[in-house]
């Protein structure tokens, strides 16, 4: 990947602190990053390393304690609901748990309709909306006619997560934050979901920030890898560089934790170092 590409999301000194006094917890500690458009970035770290907090801050769902986030070269402004809505047209997310991503009381059609409305399609005729929804569903290999008028609990986890991708397909954001989108799904659906994400990326040329704790998966999909430990980026760079020639101890430990099929799992090595 050339570094000539424009920077679409960057941050300087981003910090998030929960609580104060003796209960003070620094979830994200003064980090800098530069994500370029079109690339696929992975953020790898163990549970509790601050990945999800970082995602929430990038999305603007949680306030930033300190530091600045720049979106498309400008300092991001999400002070009002209107500005937030504008921001979210450019940055969207897929969450870890598809089962809790849906409002169990509304039909799944409303999820897709909301996306069309957000893209300014509120006044479109019904047939047009149905056509768009059908197209989005067929992109993720779902039959819209089987999906319509159903409640989320009638779908499987894989179907739910694919529908989330259909949602992104309709929204066509510049940046997608995928927070461990495959961790709650069985292994067979996992590859399909990943393929769809990559296909979608090529289709609408968006940037994906992929959050995972699985080093192998990160290496498989990403261009750039950021390693996060206790709220800090300990290492980042080209995926090949980081994985094949790790510098930080933490990266080495993460790499050793990747299970290998033809080797017995060495617990001493994967234990606390």
């Amino acid at each position: 990947m050339s570094s000539k590409k424009e920077v679409c999301l960057s941050g300087t000194g981003v910090t998030k602190v929960f609580g104060f006094g003796s209960k003070k917890t620094v979830a994200v500690n003064n980090i800098d990053f530069q994500f370029h458009s079109g690339e696929l970035v992975s953020i790898v770290g163990e549970s509790g390393s601050g990945k999800t907090t970082l995602i929430k801050m990038l999305l603007g769902l949680t306030s930033v304690t300190n530091g600045d986030i720049f979106f498309m070269g400008e300092k991001r402004d999400i002070s009002s609901h209107r500005k937030k809505k504008e921001y979210w047209k450019g940055i969207q997310a897929i969450f870890q748990d598809p089962f809790s991503s849906y409002n169990i009381f509304s039909k799944i059609d409303s999820v897709l309709l909301d996306c069309i409305h957000m893209r300014g399609g509120r006044r479109l005729p019904r047939e047009k909306k149905l056509k768009m929804m059908r197209e989005a569903c067929s992109f993720v290999n779902l039959k819209f006619d089987e999906m319509t008028n159903k409640y989320p609990f009638e779908l499987s986890g894989g179907q739910m997560q694919r529908l989330m991708i259909a949602r992104i397909f309709l929204l066509k954001p510049k940046i997608l934050l995928a927070d461990e989108p495959t961790s709650m799904i069985d292994a067979c659906s996992r590859a399909t979901i990943l393929d769809m994400l990559l296909k979608l990326r090529d289709e609408i040329n968006m940037m994906i920030i992929f959050i995972t704790h699985d080093m192998g998966l990160a290496y498989y999909v990403s261009d750039t890898v950021y390693i996060m430990e206790k709220g800090k980026f300990v290492e980042h760079g080209n995926a090949d560089e980081v994985v094949l020639a790790p510098k930080a101890d933490y990266t080495k430990k993460l790499l050793s934790d990747v299970p290998k099929i033809h080797e017995p799992w060495d617990f001493r090595k994967s234990g606390k170092s």
Binding site: K84, F95, D97, N103, I104, F105, D114, H117
Partner: protein
């Protein structure tokens, strides 16, 4: 949703509470239809008339009522026995013991045996040591009564003629004359007697259940609406607004609600205390717990993925609260509402017991009935019908509502579901 509804119907606790509660509600609807009349009409001139069926003595000697002659075995005996009440029999027994009759022989339950002993031993001339003259006179009168007890004579009826200013013979009533109760024009059934004002307790109780439920409904709705709105706003918006709302809810938690209720009711004054006002006052002091529990539920909901996703879809805050948060806590709010009704009814009863409830002249409430029963010492005079039914109804309302709440909890709370 349908599945949970089915579970509710199968839940024994919920259905028991539901049936009891609805029986009470139906009673307040249908009893006044079949027994119309003002519940606050003072029909009795005596206070605390015991429960029973009363028929007009005047109408029962009406010459137009057909008189049937019935020979009922044991009728005379029952009549004679009723003429000698228990306290007089005890007095007879006491005299006999003092006279020297062994205690074992005397059984005041055995009417004929007692009379035999009495006729064998009583002598008005005997002076027993330590007996006052008044006592001796009492026993002499009692003896006269006992001796005359077997003389069954007809009762003769005379009416006063205003023109001739003389009494004219009308009829003789023999001990074997019977009339049909249906033929008596004026019969009053008082299933629960009357209270100290002479008001029909049953009619008043039914009306009081209605009033108390209304107060519960008003207070419960107000408390739930305020609690829900404040809880949703505090939990979802957070920050300084949360701090302010929690400050006030802490303030109301620290001051005991009942004390606040007493002070407010007192300052409103007797003239201003209507059912609605009391309901509103109770509602305004009871929202705290709903606020706190709704807030804590919302706090755990607002960081869920579906709320984040709804935000990312550009929905406004009111829409997220109504569509993505409210449905998740709806069952919880219904439960809180039921408990609020129950608490409000108990609060009204407590307030009225202290004489700070609605005006007595306007309405009957369960608390006011308890208050008047207490003021007129019903518990000391043995007028159980003036307070036991009220207590039972208060307990039943509270019990049924709590049972419904527990049943709902078991259906909607996944941790309790088995």
């Amino acid at each position: 949703m349908r599945n949970q509804f089915r579970q509710l119907i199968r839940s024994g606790k919920f259905m028991t509470g539901f049936i009891i509660f609805n029986a009470l509600v139906l009673l307040t609807i249908f009893y006044p239809i079949f027994n119309p009349g003002n519940p606050l009409a003072m029909i009795g001139f005596d206070s605390f008339i015991p429960p029973g069926t009363y028929f007009s003595l005047y109408d029962s000697v009406n010459p137009n009522i057909h008189v049937y002659t019935l020979r009922i075995p044991g009728a005379d005996e029952a009549r004679i026995q009723s003429l000698l009440p228990m306290d007089e029999r005890e007095a007879m027994g006491e005299w006999l013991i003092r006279e020297g009759v062994p205690k074992e022989q005397i059984n005041i339950e055995d009417f004929t045996g007692l009379l035999e002993l009495w006729f064998a031993h009583y002598n008005p001339d005997i002076r027993i040591d330590g007996m006052t003259i008044a006592d001796r006179r009492f026993y002499q009168r009692l003896n006269a009564k006992v001796e005359g007890i077997f003389d069954i004579v007809d009762i003769h009826l005379y009416t006063y003629n205003n023109e001739t200013e003389e009494y004219e013979f009308q009829a003789a009533i023999s001990s074997e004359d019977y009339i049909r109760l249906r033929d008596v024009v004026n019969i009053v059934r008082l299933p629960l007697g009357t209270d100290n004002f002479g008001m029909d307790m049953m009619r008043k109780l039914v009306s009081a259940i209605g009033t108390s439920l209304l107060i519960g409904l008003i207070a419960g709705s107000i408390a739930t609406v305020i609690g829900l709105i404040l809880g949703l706003v505090a939990g979802y918006v957070g920050g300084i607004i949360d701090e302010i709302i929690m400050f006030f809810s802490n303030l109301f938690t620290v001051i005991p609600g009942f004390v606040l209720l007493i002070l407010i009711s007192y300052s409103i004054g007797q003239a201003g205390r209507s059912v609605t006002v009391i309901g509103i006052v109770i509602g305004l002091t009871a929202w705290v717990w709903t606020t706190r529990s709704v807030r804590s539920q919302v706090l755990s909901l607002r960081h869920r993925d579906h709320v984040s996703l709804s935000k990312l879809s550009g929905h406004s805050m009111p829409r997220i609260i109504i569509k993505d948060i409210l449905p998740y806590i709806a069952s919880y709010v219904v439960m809180a509402f039921i408990l609020q009704i129950s608490t409000a009814i108990l609060a009204e009863a407590g307030l009225s017991m202290l004489g700070l409830g609605p005006r007595t002249t306007d309405v009957a409430t369960l608390g006011l009935m308890m208050n008047w029963a207490m003021v007129y010492s019903a518990h000391l005079t043995g007028a159980w019908w003036a307070y036991y039914p009220v207590l039972l109804v208060i307990a039943l309302i509270s019990f049924s509502l709590n049972l419904m709440n527990t049943g709902l909890d078991q259906v909607f709370n996944p941790q309790l579901r088995n």
